[in-house]
Subunit: 597 residues, 2 copies
Amino acid sequence: MRGATYFFICVDLSLALFEEPAVFPLPFLATSIIEVLCLTVFFGRLIHFAKVTPQMVFWKDTKNICIMVTIALTLIDLIIYGSLEAVSIHSVRWSRALRPVFLINFPESRQIRRAFRSIRKTLPDILYVFLLFMFSVLIFSLMALKLFGDRGLKTVEGSSYFTNILEIAFELYVLVTTANSPDVMLPAYDFNWWYSLYFVTFIIINTYIFMSVFLAVVYNNYRKHLKNEIRKLVYLKRHKMIEAFNILKVKVGTEFVVKETEWRQLTKVVAPDISTSHLELLLRISDEGQKGHVDKMNFLRLADLLNIQVVTINVRRHPLEAWVPRVYQSPASLWVRKMVQHRIFVWVFDVIILINAIFIALDEKNPFISYAEWLFLSLYVIEILLKLYTYEPRAYFGRKQFWNGFDMLIIIAALVATVANATIQSARKYNSQQILDIVLILRILRLLRVIISIQRFRVIVTTLINIGPTMLMFGGLVLVVYYAFAIIGMEVFQGKVRFFEPNSTAPDSLVCGNPALKGSTFARDRYCKNNFNDLASSFIVLMELTVVNQWHILAGGFALVTHQAAKLYFILFHIVVVILIVNIFIAFILEAFFVAY
Amino acid sequence: MRGATYFFICVDLSLALFEEPAVFPLPFLATSIIEVLCLTVFFGRLIHFAKVTPQMVFWKDTKNICIMVTIALTLIDLIIYGSLEAVSIHSVRWSRALRPVFLINFPESRQIRRAFRSIRKTLPDILYVFLLFMFSVLIFSLMALKLFGDRGLKTVEGSSYFTNILEIAFELYVLVTTANSPDVMLPAYDFNWWYSLYFVTFIIINTYIFMSVFLAVVYNNYRKHLKNEIRKLVYLKRHKMIEAFNILKVKVGTEFVVKETEWRQLTKVVAPDISTSHLELLLRISDEGQKGHVDKMNFLRLADLLNIQVVTINVRRHPLEAWVPRVYQSPASLWVRKMVQHRIFVWVFDVIILINAIFIALDEKNPFISYAEWLFLSLYVIEILLKLYTYEPRAYFGRKQFWNGFDMLIIIAALVATVANATIQSARKYNSQQILDIVLILRILRLLRVIISIQRFRVIVTTLINIGPTMLMFGGLVLVVYYAFAIIGMEVFQGKVRFFEPNSTAPDSLVCGNPALKGSTFARDRYCKNNFNDLASSFIVLMELTVVNQWHILAGGFALVTHQAAKLYFILFHIVVVILIVNIFIAFILEAFFVAY
Ligand code: NA
């Protein structure tokens, strides 16, 4: 059920790849049938919810209302667009920007929803800082207009410098993001050294102080609401456990308790993978007096107890020791095992990897070096075999031994890819570019093994790996926002800027197919492929806008081919993604490292 | 004494303005005599310390050793440089980079020293993250070399793309700072959409995660060491108070105490401005049993008690009420006072300011508008007079009423400047540009008054004003680092890049006077005034490097006119200033806002 819902959400979202402007075009009829199918599934799911939950609860849940409204709006949009299309009038498929609503509002996306709720609660605090910040930018704009407007200064491109208050405000907003520093300062600075102080003051106040205050406000709210969320979860858990207790309880003597058999059954149901020894341990803890039943206080602890990871240390014998004990315990075998366990063994292989790195950096077309590659691979395989000979395999690849598995995986993948490439090469006398690229990346990833050997690095990387799942949540959050912006961007900017192959002879290829870009920095820097002509390209443009650098060039280019007001789209994206989401991401990394260190 | 030391430190530091390469050139003899004079003063100060502190303590203090070594090194440098100059050999005045040592090591700069100590303690933690980060950049460089090196791709400038591992590593380091995004990606992206994923991965790992981890490590250490510093200060205070108690104590009954008269004298000495009522209050608290003496525990609390700001609320009568009670209490006067105290009075003047802002934004050469300016000024003066009539002046401008003073100051300054400008204009028939600029800035600063009216804005601005003193400490820290880098920069890069007036006809003016810059982005963007030809210009370049954007263009330009190794200077600056100091600044703002909110 859960998997199916996610599948249809993915299908619905990925429709944007096939609709105009498309990466892989499909007729409107095909995409609209698929969309209606998805909507039916979502509606079916909703009806299922309505059946299993009380009516009051169902209608009070904004999630359900949101999904229903979005389904209705999408259907209306489909009908209007379809009818207009039938009489050859091209209109806007606006409801596509609402598709992420399905991703957010299904119960499985609790994490993303929580992040959105946290953002919503941050908004009032952010708003006041933002107003003050805009006020500051406006005051500086007014000063700039008065200080520089009448000087007759020219920018490097030869246009007039700081003569229009709206343009100044935009330039100063860009300066806050640092994207046009120092260029925006140069005409005034070239005129008089003292004017640089105006820009220094501006940058200190707006870029350093205000942007840090934004981070502080976002961080503070993030911590506050995350704490609330956790407290709410704890309360909810306790509440549910009390309900469960009331159902299972029987009276023994003066107090209500849960019998041992019921307790066992329940635990088996909620934790089906639990080992018998683990279950006995839990019972021993919960039934302190060994009376054959668990009292209320201990029953409520069950949920917490099941969250505790009980690390079972198995001192198992190596399988070879059981099969061929004489050989495995022989002096030669013992010597090999001792050698493998020695620290020098690790160091030797670290040195081998570093030598390998030098070989990789050198030209691989040299036949000697490509033979050396086989030698290195064999050495790594020997290393793994030796380790498997020495350590008990199940312990070596245990759940907590992430690094050993990672190591093995990379070696095997590299081996497979290298063999595959060699086979293709000898069979068809040509190199498959994709496989070569993969072999290459795997070969270089092998260098990551050096990190494993150094304890301090291990700590940092382990922290990063532990926050991986939450990072996926950020991935979802960013996907949702990108999707909505990409759809709007495609409706507004599609086809305005076109990409031509580098050696194209088309007359407009130097201005990205649009004469309005003549003489613009956008065209000069060859940004033609940064366009909104399909979902994939749009996502890359939005990624570039997230990184911030040169975003004003992109904004300027798209404003030239449409209207100056288009810059508002880019400013809004900056506020939502950089000021809000990126700051939450930074706050999250800070918090994760504070907990880990 | 303290003022004199700071004066001579300033003189010593500002010598860089007069030494080659100079803003205001002075002969070597003049600057060296002044420098020797400063050194003499510093040495005299040191001898004074040596006399008043025990010998053991004096020689154990690294501060004193540092100053002595720096004095010696500077003298050696002066002698060598002077002798070589006498025989016309030009050498390097390397000891100038050591001058900030004097600023750091005098006892008055405790704050800056503390910040440096905190940075030093952060270094080991930072180091491991930095190594891991460099390792990641190198692995990605190797991948880039292998993935893109053989494709024959060209950058927008037409040079070969990603063919040299050192160049790739530099480009990727620049990409971490986002300064060359998205340009560095474009050749690969234009070739194949999929290659953009390489850059997306790189940016997520290095720009977002690693840079946040740097902030986390710096922030964590900042909190840790700041806490230690505060604990140390508390310990020191207690220790000194115990010493003071031991000097003043007399035996009364079984316990040692300090007599009320001694206690009064001491308090008067350490807090000369204390009011009698405040002193009595403190005594009442310290001498709980009213026994005429203070016991040890209460005596130790004195330092803390004196830190507590006791807010005295004086309900004073307005002077006019004392002088002309009949007039001041008349119905008309009462009506005026009631009106001024009303909220609408504030709102009316906020609206007036906003109308004023629109007039400022309009062209001031229109005579009607310049008359309106006088009208607005008179309205503001009337407002202040009305407020002074209504509120008791000492209460109105009290210590906690920062905003009222700020308001008054801006109005009076604007009035004085406008009158001064009008006088000059009518007398000499020309506008003084400097005074006009000042009038203008004051006129616009008046808009800040709108902030005062809105409570939420007031909170934010008050927090920012409260952290002002610590910001000055950061100013000192940045000054020290900038100074050292500026001196090195001037020695290495002086005269390599020259600025020509925009309408210059000199043949080399388009390449900043250096043919090596032909075709470079540095010359194309007209960065010629960003040079190290004097201290003022150097500081602006370093400020631009701190802002990060386009730093690779600056680094590339200076590498072209000297050697590719010059890029190391810019990378080092980035690590020290952006990764360390700016992150500490951000950590500081975060912490300040967490405390305030
Ligand atoms: Na930038």
